[in-house]
């Protein structure tokens, strides 16, 4: 190697500036938060499990009751919440980057409303098929996405039309949901809880429903981090950097939709996670997707596990759906963002 090449080789290493340390801290902080939240999620509940009991269990000497609580109730619930939190955070990251809109979240492309009306229809019209709710919600989300894509198609997806179509489709399906309530006021009891969003009743089968999409979504978004970086500089810059704009935009929006759809199918309508997590992480690690995506994924998982544990233990034995809790947390944050933007 010549001298010049050696210097270049040395400069491949990133400078360890303030951003570098902040990113390391953010990763470590989010990881720690996730670990603590997961542990709390396993230990706390209507019947608390102590650390000794847990360690006995891990050595294969736990009591049957503890095993049942941890393995069949708490563990799948914690994993479910973590996967859903990660999915929603990644979906929000993608949409904010692709649509150049800081207020974008999975609700904006209509998939959440599609999942909602389909799940409602099953729960109210065919309560015997309650176990089909996740599948119905997933299909409802994809149908909504297909309609939104059709409406927004103009030689490729037009971001502005996508948002308008998404809002319109969301309003339409939202109307459908309300119509079901009005028509069957006596059957909405269980359905309302689902709408509020939460992990009550989460079991291993739910984990298996979400997991494949989480894996596809995570790999797909990380695979595209450089393209996301280019896209957030505007469509024309992305094109001039050799990004196949139409294809990339389609793939990324589709990824965000399946992430959101799989989440809605097991957790109902959870608002705000997809909006606030990417924003908080952007403030800490910056807007480079190479760091933003993993940080958001971990923090989103940690936030939902923590919030769910909190929401089901605070008024124990009564559970508040975590969706309500998140809305109380998320709405003020949303307003704070708006205020920051209008000032800056």
């Amino acid at each position: 190697m010549t001298n010049k090449e050696l210097t270049a080789q040395n400069q491949l290493a990133l400078p360890k500036d303030g951003r570098y340390r902040r990113r390391q801290l953010a990763y470590a902080g989010a990881g720690l938060f996730l670990l603590i939240a997961a542990l709390a999620g396993i230990l706390y509940g209507a019947i608390p499990v102590s650390l000794q009991e847990l360690s006995l269990l891990l050595q294969g000497q736990g009591s049957n009751d503890t095993e049942r609580i941890v393995y069949y109730l708490r563990l799948p619930r914690v994993i479910c919440a973590a996967l859903v939190g990660m999915n929603l955070a990644l979906a929000g990251c993608i949409l904010q980057g692709v649509l150049h809109n800081p207020l974008a979240d999975p609700g904006i492309i209509g998939v959440t409303a599609g999942a909602g009306v389909a799940a409602m229809a099953v729960m109210i019209l065919a309560p015997a098929f309650i176990y089909w709710v996740p599948l119905a919600a997933f299909i409802g989300a994809l149908v909504a996405l297909a309609i939104v894509f059709l409406l927004a198609w103009d030689r490729g997806i037009n971001p502005l039309r996508l948002i308008l179509a998404g809002v319109a489709v969301a309003a339409f399906f939202g109307g459908g949901t309300t119509a079901l309530w009005v028509a069957f006021p006596d059957r909405i009891q269980g359905a309302v809880n689902w709408l509020a969003g939460g992990f009550a009743g989460a079991r291993w089968s739910y984990v298996w429903i979400v997991l494949p999409y989480s894996i596809i979504g995570l790999l797909g978004t990380l695979w595209n981090y450089r393209k996301l970086n280019a896209l957030q500089m505007g469509d024309e810059v992305a094109l001039s950097l050799g990004i196949n704009l139409k294809r990339t935009r389609f793939i990324l929006i589709f990824l965000s939709a399946i992430l959101a759809a799989s989440s809605a199918s097991v957790a109902g309508l959870l608002g705000f996670v997809g909006l606030i997590v990417p924003h908080i992480m952007r403030l800490i690690v910056g807007s480079d997707f190479e760091y933003l995506l993993p940080a958001s994924a971990v923090f989103g998982a940690a936030l939902l596990v923590g919030a769910d544990t909190f929401a089901r233990t605070i008024f124990s034995p009564m559970e508040i759906p975590v969706g309500i809790f998140l809305s109380f947390l998320g709405a003020p944050f949303f307003l704070y963002l708006l205020k920051r933007r209008s000032r800056g």
């Binding site: 010049k4 090449e5 270049a8 080789q9 400069q11 491949l12 400078p15 500036d17 103009d154 030689r155 695979w223 595209n224 981090y225 450089r226 970086n229 280019a230 957030q232 500089m233 505007g234 469509d235 024309e236 810059v237 094109l239 001039s240 950097l241 050799g242 990004i243 196949n244 704009l245 910056g286 807007s287 480079d288």
Partner: protein, 264 residues
């Protein structure tokens, strides 16, 4: 490397709206070319279609004889780099991060930075005088520095053809002058073709070899600066009466124009 870029019978425009019809223009040697013309005449549309940002509704754009729409986006991006007007970047992005983006056409999803990438970035930072500012976030830069950073990104693509869409629009006179001089320097040291849309006619005349005049989507004049930069062509082009005058500045002859009265 010398490239040829040809638009053959291009019908250009956005979506359904046709801006120009039967547009023919070609570039076959490393020169500095400015596209001039009134607002809304289609200058940017011509440039974007040449740079593959817009697809012609009819006709073709040929790069080295190949239809540019049939070439891969990355393949084109290694030959043509374009600095659009709409360029925007996250405020916390540093100059170096931005310039590194210029290497995207050479990277795959997970490929790590190669020595050539770093060398291209270093060279671009050096040539644009940004070495000392490379770790600054873009929000801390002046307008002129920021525009230089974008230019450095375009240069890091190692293009043979550099396209600039009104690069001096938001800059004050000093930064305008600096940027134009930088463009001339890059053309000379790298031997690249520069095609840009400019509003300042005196800059266009002084810093280019060739001028292309666009009006109502048609190329109404195309040739060496001496043949275009005169009253006959420009008064027609802008519907404005102008006087032209020659000045000696630092032993260099400048022809300048002063528009003084609208014709309509």
């Amino acid at each position: 490397m010398t490239r040829t870029l040809v638009m053959d019978q291009g019908r250009i425009g956005y979506g359904e709206r046709i801006v120009g019809e039967g547009v023919n223009v070609s570039f076959d040697k490393p020169e500095i070319v400015s596209i001039i013309g009134p607002n809304g005449s289609g200058k940017s549309t011509v440039l974007k279609t040449l740079g593959r940002l817009l697809e012609p509704m009819a006709g073709t754009v040929l790069l080295d004889g190949k239809n540019i729409q049939k070439m891969g986006a990355k393949e084109v991006a290694r030959i043509i780099s374009m600095l659009p007007q709409s360029a925007q970047a996250p405020q916390d992005m540093t100059v170096r991060d931005l310039v590194l983006c210029g290497r995207l056409p050479y990277q795959n999803a997970f490929s790590s930075l190669k020595v050539e990438d770093v060398q291209a970035v270093e060279a671009a930072l050096e040539e644009t005088g940004l070495v000392n500012l490379q770790h600054r976030p873009l929000k801390d830069l002046s307008g002129g520095e920021r525009q230089r950073a974008w230019l450095a990104m375009a240069i890091a693509q190692e293009p043979d053809i550099l396209m600039l869409d009104e690069p001096t629009t938001f800059l004050d006179v000093r930064y305008q002058l600096e940027l134009m001089k930088l463009v001339v320097k890059l053309h000379k040291t790298r031997g690249i073709t520069v095609i840009m849309v400019l509003h300042d006619l005196n800059h266009a005349a002084h810093f280019s070899h060739r001028l292309i005049a666009v009006k109502q989507g048609q190329i109404v004049a195309d040739g060496a600066v001496a043949d275009i930069f005169n009253e006959t062509v420009l008064s027609q082009l802008y519907d404005v009466n102008m006087v032209f005058s020659k000045l000696q500045i630092n032993g260099e002859e400048h022809t300048i124009c002063v528009p003084y009265e609208s014709r309509i």
